[in-house]
């Protein structure tokens, strides 16, 4: 759907394992951390895991404390949601 509201941005959000994918329109002021919280809840992703978001269009990792506009997320960008790995092998 074309997005005619300049205060909102339409993006494609997908998980790195491609099991979840959605086109969503959200406020440009939305914090990346809120996007992560909403999508992990909505998609029933593992709790107790830290997530990160990468903009595949720009190759930039988004700061969780930034808004989408601060990180220059544009209409049509594909954002990838994936766990932030902190494991070696033995302990979390």
């Amino acid at each position: 759907m074309p997005n005619n509201d300049p205060s909102r941005v339409t993006i494609i959000l997908q998980t790195a394992d491609r099991t979840r994918k959605a086109e969503i329109t959200v406020p440009r002021t939305m914090q990346v951390s809120s996007l992560i919280s909403a999508s992990t809840r909505r998609w029933f992703l593992s709790a107790g895991v830290d997530y990160q978001v990468t903009n595949l269009a720009t190759g930039m990792c988004l700061n969780t404390s930034d808004s989408l506009s601060t990180d220059k997320v544009a209409d049509g960008d594909v954002l990838m949601l994936q766990p932030f790995p902190t494991h070696g092998a033995n302990r979390g």
């Binding site: 994936q82 766990p83 790995p85 070696g88 092998a89």
Partner: protein, 398 residues
């Protein structure tokens, strides 16, 4: 093109690779932090490639569950320090390799001067807290480091510059800080480690190890920024194995990041912590009224709010277990820690040797007085400079 006949030497195939400067790689000083699954793969490859004077650091011992993901360990190694078993296995693989080991806590028992002497640090760690500590040490020492991390089907390798660009802490989210805080009680004592072994295989560890060593070679051969086709500082490679997906991504620098602090210049003195007190150091620097900043919180005692009993003790606060809240005098769990972050000439700890209060060899200490000083103890670190029993011998009783 004519290829020279095979020399029959161990590294003959490597020397045929254009640009492979084996002597340069062999002379590099590399600290490998963590000798678990990823660390094993990294150390195996460094040995087989003849790279570096390697110092292996790990506080843990080998367990049975390590064997399926650790190619350097054998059943006969169970119960032995991982760092020692790994270093010895490296030398068995490649006798030319210089491999040392240090069995101790990276955060509290390895002096920053050791990190400062390195050309590169490779992080093969398994916790957020250890990565934060290594990141801070490398940033203070101005040494680049590579961070390897895995999930079940995911591998990430990140190159962090030593003195500029984004660091590991820049990428910490509020949720990650909250998870980090869960490891400590309100007073700063360390909560019991309840983390379970994570599901993984040697496959992702092997991929991570290979990528880490590939990047290490690129950095060492390419100078400060690394080879042009290697990861640049502030970049990471992310590899997903199910389904396959990979990419190189850029991290963002947080301008206000508190970890961006280069400790330089550093004055090096030969005195060891075991033979020097805080007062003696302050006088030596002509700062008798100065403050010695330890760089960590020093637990000086526990006080019981129920019975009032006080027990003096001296150890880094974050290494002190939560069980210390139990009061042996009244039996209540009502003791609180008392800690300080600095020592002056009036402090009770000022007349004790620095080793007694937990300062390791090659530590770099800050002294704030009429001016700011940064002093490295024990001289410059040289390979073979760490005594295997040094950690045990400097721990204070109780």
């Amino acid at each position: 093109m004519t290829l020279s006949p095979a020399s029959g030497g161990r590294f003959d195939r490597l020397e045929r690779i254009a640009g492979w400067d084996r002597e340069h790689l062999a002379a590099a000083r590399i600290l490998v932090a963590g000798a678990g699954a990823i660390g094993n793969e990294v150390l195996r490859l460094l040995a087989q490639l003849g790279i570096g004077h390697v110092l292996v650091v790990d506080f843990d011992t080998v367990e049975l569950l390590n064997l399926p993901v650790s190619p350097l360990f054998r059943e006969s190694d169970i119960g032995r320090p991982k760092a020692r078993a790994a270093a010895e296995a490296m030398r068995a693989l490649s006798p030319d390799v210089s491999a040392e080991w240090f069995s101790g806590d990276l955060e509290f028992e390895l002096g920053l001067g050791v990190v400062r002497s390195m050309d590169l640090v490779i992080g093969c760690l398994d916790s957020l807290g250890a990565r934060l500590a290594l990141n801070l040490a490398c940033r203070r020492a101005g040494v680049p480091w590579l961070n390897g991390a895995i999930e079940i089907n995911q591998v990430e390798v990140t190159h962090f510059g030593g003195q500029s660009g984004p660091c590991f802490e820049c990428g910490m989210s509020a949720a990650m800080w909250a998870r980090r805080a869960e490891r400590f009680s309100c007073g700063g004592l360390r909560s019991p480690d309840s983390a379970l072994p994570v599901p993984t295989t040697a496959i992702t560890a092997s991929l991570a190890g290979a990528l880490l060593v590939n990047e290490a070679a690129g950095i060492l051969l390419g100078g400060p920024g690394g080879a042009s086709d290697s990861l640049q500082p502030g970049q990471k490679i992310s590899l997903q194995t199910r389904p396959y997906h990979s990419g190189v991504y850029a991290l963002q620098e947080q301008p206000g990041c508190l970890a961006h602090e280069l400790w330089a210049p550093v004055r090096v003195i030969d005195d060891r912590p075991a033979g020097l007190t805080a007062i003696e150091l302050l006088v030596r620097l002509d700062e008798p009224d100065g403050q010695l900043k330890l760089g960590w919180d020093l637990l000086t005692g526990m006080t019981c709010s129920a019975c009032g009993a006080q027990e003096p003790m001296l150890r880094p606060l974050e290494s002190a277990p939560e069980e210390l809240i139990h009061c042996p005098a009244c039996g209540e769990e009502s003791r609180s820690p008392v800690s300080v972050a600095w020592i002056d000439r009036h402090s009770p700890a000022a007349t004790l040797s620095l080793a007694w209060i937990g300062v390791p060899d090659y530590a770099i200490l800050e002294v704030a007085g009429t001016e700011k000083h940064r002093v490295q103890l024990s001289g410059e670190y040289r390979p073979s400079g760490l005594q295997p029993d040094a950690v045990q011998s400097r721990r204070c009783p109780g």
